[in-house]
């Protein structure tokens, strides 16, 4: 893929990438930085992308990894007790945005991709490199925790 094509395709999906990062990290500044980092990682690794039709899910996977790294760095910078793992019964008491941010990351990334980024089960599975069945299981579990009823469409 040429640099121009890369630029065009990044521009097309970058808002969506930002939404993913924002929901995942809960912080606008971190989200912007992480999207830029993912974009840079994708740019320098472009030659490794053998099937351009998977560009979007490939870049999303890079972004998810960068989000995890960012979370890890944030946890190192902030005391662990400041970000306690919530008990399952507390999710419905939290605002939705905050509750999503408190989900275990396996569930969080599925719910973000499926219901806030418009990815299908197949695309989500490709992006996270997990089976579609696992996507379905995790999304059901996440919706239960969030007390959110959304269709599978």
């Amino acid at each position: 893929m040429q640099v121009d094509a890369f630029s065009n395709r990044v521009m097309a999906i970058k808002p969506r990438l930002y939404r993913i990062a924002l929901l995942y990290l809960g912080n606008e500044s971190m989200a912007k930085d992480t999207v830029d980092e993912a974009e840079y990682r994708a740019y320098i690794s472009l030659k490794k992308l053998r099937q351009p039709e998977y560009f979007e899910t490939w870049l999303t996977r890079i972004l998810i990894n960068e989000c995890k790294k960012a979370m890890h760095r944030a946890k190192r910078e902030v005391a662990y007790e400041a970000i306690p793992e919530p008990a399952a019964e507390n999710f419905d008491a939290l605002p939705l945005k905050e509750a999503i941010g408190k989900l275990p990351h396996e569930l969080r990334e599925v719910i973000i991709l499926r219901y806030f980024s418009g990815y299908s089960v197949v695309e989500t599975a490709q992006s996270l490199d997990i089976p579609q069945g696992t996507v379905a299981t995790r999304q059901r579990r996440a919706l239960q925790l969030l007390r959110l009823e959304l269709s599978d469409a």
């Binding site: 640099v3 930002y18 974009e39 419905d92 939705l96 945005k97 219901y115 806030f116």
Partner: protein
């Protein structure tokens, strides 16, 4: 607000993406470019390290590769060994050196012929002798034979110091009088491990003027014999300029017949007018090209070749202009050493200590009879500070013309110093006429006089 409403509001909220999140970041390309530059500077050292690892592995696993790398210091040693010789130094710089790489081990001594520098008329053999037993080894009597019939070839051979440390680079120089360098020849060297005990032994007293001793061949000499094959690309090199220029040198008439220019040296060939009263023995001369590059006489090794039918030294050697690409070359003769034809033998009255006629600058210092042999000492004026020269040939005769020969002499300090002979710029030549019962001896001077030319003789070589 229920979860569904929250969800819808959150979707709307997320629609408001910052402006910069709708285009590719400018930093991406800048960072990528920096990374490329950084990698281009870091990869070569990385590659270098990788190559270093591979070379180390190869050297440690392959004897052939290990030896190939071992040769780099060998070449460096050769370059150091020929440092005094401008012709050979330039030859090596022009890669005019052939690898031979032949080795033989006899007992616990290994001789390895490493390289040769060879052209039409001169062969320089570079070799090593090594032994786990001996720290020092002697190399004796190098000889060159025809490869076909093993007869001696008409050559003059000179070698470096006989005794050298194990593993040191040694050099034997072979000059061919006539004919082309053969494609192959046989090189023989006798070798002896040195028992170093003598180095620490006390020097016996008193020190006498070199006694005449019978030479006895060491019993444990080892003969190494190598057949050397030369690359014709080297042995073809050389050219002859025929000149036939008459000229007057001091008071004698000479003809410059030809000049031979080889990579290793240059030869000036002279013929003497038959009416001359003296034989030419040596020249003080040099050549110079149009750029002022000077080619001096050989300072260490064979300097001239004699004529077959007279004491004349007919062929004189200089360093080579072969690689200098000289368009013009001029020979300047500044001095000459003659042997007058009537002075080929000089009479010395040993009993009375009287020499009838001696070479210029030479006086009889002492003739001492010890009951069996005469011990002679001559005082000689130096031509240059700390520079000794030969005054007599080794042959001598009695009154009846019977021939004798001495095989050892010393040149330098006087063995029995006396107050009259501590003059500066004088050296002493001392030798013994062993078992020579006569009171009169005829010695054979190496020269009779030296002429320094006020105006050098200039001869255009090309």
């Amino acid at each position: 607000m229920n979860r569904q409403q929250e969800y819808q509001e959150l979707l709307l909220e997320l629609e408001n993406t910052p402006k910069e999140m709708s285009q590719m970041s400018a930093n991406t390309k800048i960072r990528a470019r920096k990374r490329t530059i950084l990698r281009s500077t870091l990869i070569p050292p990385g590659l270098f390290l990788a190559m270093l690892c591979m070379v180390t592995l190869a050297v440690n696993t392959s004897p052939t590769i290990a030896y190939a790398f071992e040769r780099i210091p060998v070449l460096r040693q050769i370059a150091v060994a020929v440092n005094f010789n401008p012709s050979l130094t330039v030859a090596i710089e022009h890669e005019f050196i052939q690898r031979i790489d032949l080795a033989q081990t006899i007992g616990d001594i290994t001789m390895r012929v490493e390289y040769v520098i060879v052209d039409q008329r001169q062969l320089n053999i570079f070799y090593t002798l090594s032994s786990p037993t001996y720290a020092y080894l002697n190399s004796w009597r190098p000889a060159i034979f025809c490869a076909e019939d093993e007869t001696h070839l008409p050559v003059s051979i000179s070698s470096g110091p006989h005794t050298q440390s194990s593993g040191a680079i040694r050099q034997t120089v072979v000059n061919f009088f006539d004919g082309q360098m053969p494609d192959t020849l046989v090189f023989e060297m006798l070798v002896l491990g040195v028992d170093t005990a003598w180095m620490y032994a006390e020097i016996p007293e008193p020190v006498q003027a070199l006694p005449q001793r019978e030479y006895t061949e060491p019993a444990d000499l080892i003969a190494f014999v190598f057949t050397l094959a030369f690359d014709p690309g080297f042995t073809e090199q050389g050219k002859i300029l025929y000149l036939y220029q008459d000229f007057t040198l001091a008071d004698q008439r000479m003809v410059l017949t030809s000049v031979e220019i080889y990579p290793t040296h240059m030869r000036i060939n002279l013929a003497a007018d038959p009416s001359n009263t003296a034989w030419l023995r040596s020249l003080h001369f040099f050549a110079e090209n149009e750029r002022g590059e000077r080619f001096d006489t050989i300072s260490n090794g064979i300097t001239a070749f004699g004529a077959v039918d007279s004491p004349t030294m007919a062929s004189h050697l200089l360093h080579s202009p072969f690689f200098a690409q000289s368009e013009a070359l001029t020979l300047y003769i500044k001095g000459v050493e003659w042997l007058d034809k009537d002075m080929q033998r000089v009479r010395v009255d040993l009993a009375n200590g009287i020499a009838q006629r001696l070479p210029e600058g030479v006086t009889l210092d002492e003739a001492r009879w010890d009951g069996q042999s005469w011990h002679l000492s001559f005082a000689v004026i130096e031509r240059a500070p700390n520079h000794n020269h030969q005054i007599f040939g080794q042959d001598f005769f009695n009154e009846a013309g019977e021939a004798f020969r001495f095989n050892a002499w010393s040149s330098g300090i006087r063995f029995h110093s006396s107050p009259g002979y501590d003059a500066p710029n004088v050296f002493f030549v001392q030798f013994a006429l062993a078992d020579f019962p006569y009171d009169i001896v005829y010695l054979t001077p190496a020269y009779s006089r030296v002429a320094t030319l006020v105006a050098p003789v200039a001869l255009r070589l090309r």
